[in-house]
Symmetry: C2
Subunit: 343 residues, 2 copies
């Protein structure tokens, strides 16, 4: 549907438009990219491409700009060939490698890094590698009827919350509670046993039936509410970009980044697929981000599933963004390999 001749023009326009941000005229294409054709010929081809909705003009006597359709063609072409990590960022990658000790900190750092290197917004998410299986449960008495619930999930994800129970309990009683919960829950999927837990726990602690019930409820709320941790970084980088000069739009995007579930939706949209995933403009699941593009990829690090990505303008430097993202991803994945045994 798109002849070789036309494709060359589209790729040239997208490439140049990404670099300059200005509408591209036929003269520029003829001089810089397709020297075997004259400006007039390219003008004709551009008129064709406009009809096919790959290009458009902001006004009658301006150059052409790419439509999302053109970006898609361009990105597909990039993905087909090999990429190399930009060497000027090697230093940062080494810094990231240092931080891998603490997975959460590493991912936070990675998002900020992505933001800094690319000037777009870095995002990340960290979830359990597997379904929620408890590996350890502790209840620690913090004060009068205040208890710290501590859950260690298989894969190393940790949740904790300080709660107030109906009445006070000694640490001994709490230990008994955690022993009982552990007995049933450890090593098994939470969804599988959450129902059967209560009766077994209350058997030995009937004096504290109320407390047991409310503790189990809290555990349930922790385990169901927080399956993922989200990170964003480098949102400030985007302020200088001419594509985000519409402050209102930028504002809604930044507001969305603060809500966890909108990032969650992005992550879910991409993490289903394996490997790299580029979403351009209106392909985006989140309506308010329809004029952004997203590059995302997932891996496993420290025994947990990690998704990292970039949010930028549709006029994003896809080639560079993808290379950088791949570099970061590989670095994060490096220590994921060492403890395969975990799963």
């Amino acid at each position: 549907m798109l002849s070789e001749r036309h494709l060359e023009v589209v790729l040239a326009v997208v490439y140049e438009y990404i670099k300059t941000g200005e509408p591209i005229g036929s003269r520029t294409i003829a001089r810089k990219f397709l020297k075997d054709r004259s400006a007039a010929t390219i003008r004709n081809e551009m008129a064709d491409l406009e009809e096919m909705e790959y290009l458009y003009q902001p006004h009658t006597s301006a150059g052409r700009m790419p439509t999302p359709k053109a970006y898609r063609v361009y990105v597909d072409a990039i993905l087909r060939r090999q990429r190399t990590f930009p060497s000027e960022s090697e230093g940062w990658i080494r810094e990231l490698r240092e931080k891998r000790k603490d997975v959460e900190e590493a991912l936070g750092y990675a998002t900020r890094l992505l933001g800094k290197i690319t000037s777009y917004i870095g995002v990340g998410a960290l979830g359990p590698a597997t379904e929620t299986v408890l590996q350890r449960v502790e209840f620690l008495r913090m004060g009068h009827s205040t208890v710290l619930i501590l859950l260690v999930l298989k894969g190393g994800l940790i949740h904790h919350r300080t709660v107030t129970l109906p009445c006070d309990m000694t640490q001994e009683a709490l230990d008994e509670l955690s022993r009982r919960v552990s007995m049933i829950a450890l090593g098994r999927s939470w969804g599988e046993i959450r129902g059967t837990l209560q009766s077994y726990v209350e058997e030995a602690l009937e004096r504290y039936a109320d407390n047991c019930r409310s503790a189990l409820l809290e555990m349930d709320s922790i385990l169901s509410e927080k399956p993922f941790q989200f990170f964003t970084g480098g949102a400030h980088n985007v302020l200088g970009l001419p594509d985000f000069n519409d402050l209102g739009r930028l504002q809604t995007i930044m507001a969305l980044l603060e809500e966890e579930d909108s990032i969650g939706r992005l992550v879910r949209g991409c993490s289903a697929e394996k490997g790299l995933c580029v979403t351009i403009g209106d392909e985006n699941p989140v309506l308010q981000m329809r004029d952004c593009s997203i590059v995302m990829a997932s891996t496993v690090t420290g025994g947990r599933k990690a998704v990292v990505g970039l949010i930028g303008p549709v006029r994003m430097d896809y080639e560079r963004s993808i290379s950088v993202l791949e570099g970061v991803l590989d670095t994060l994945a490096e220590n994921g390999e060492s403890d395969e045994e975990v799963r």
Copy 2:
């Protein structure tokens, strides 16, 4: 040094300038605030105030704008009298009250809330109520030579990190390690015992001397690196504000918010003093924020020290900001009282 007559003019100019953002002329002051004086009189007084550096003109034939010195006088006047929480925000406060279960989540929510209600940037910090005293130490084996270090501090602060030790260790050996560490460290200040710990620990675990050393080093790094957790929220609100139309400046501010130590410096600057603390423009310890104002206050919630505040333009609505901050602070503090016993 500032006569009653002059003070009235200053307060009127600041009040009106905060509302409108435009330079204030003598006519406006005479009509709206000081009806007993004519515009010409006020013009003379304004000329005096300009010499005293309370007011300045952006250009010869414009109205006057307040200098930081004038804001200081204005804020001091506000702080002297009683404030009332804006009733239209009661609903949000109720939402915040719901979230108090989890202190960290509550503080995160509080910063976003502050941002939303005031249209400025909410910041928060959560630290240990006391010095670092360990209440519980666990080492959990996650995989081959990978160990999860879990530290519960007195007051409920939790730190954890997954680390790779020099060689593998059984869970039993790790339990022995945590028993030994607990024996010495629990209930005592970390600074006090960090030195004596190593020899006692290695006594029983000499086979794993390397592991013990590296585990203790990690503990030390955790405890010294992360004394505070930081939160920011609602940075996007500030995008619409005319005072932040200089994108470059806004960008540096948002970049600073991503670095933990710059927030740390702000917090430290304010948390020393008890109660409310208003920092105007160049009073600010962070150089790049010299044209911002900061309102901060600290309290104790859930047995931990919490600092919450607002970063906004120098032309901030101080009265409203302070009221809202006080409301949020009181709500957070409510459950701080219930477990006094913790400290």
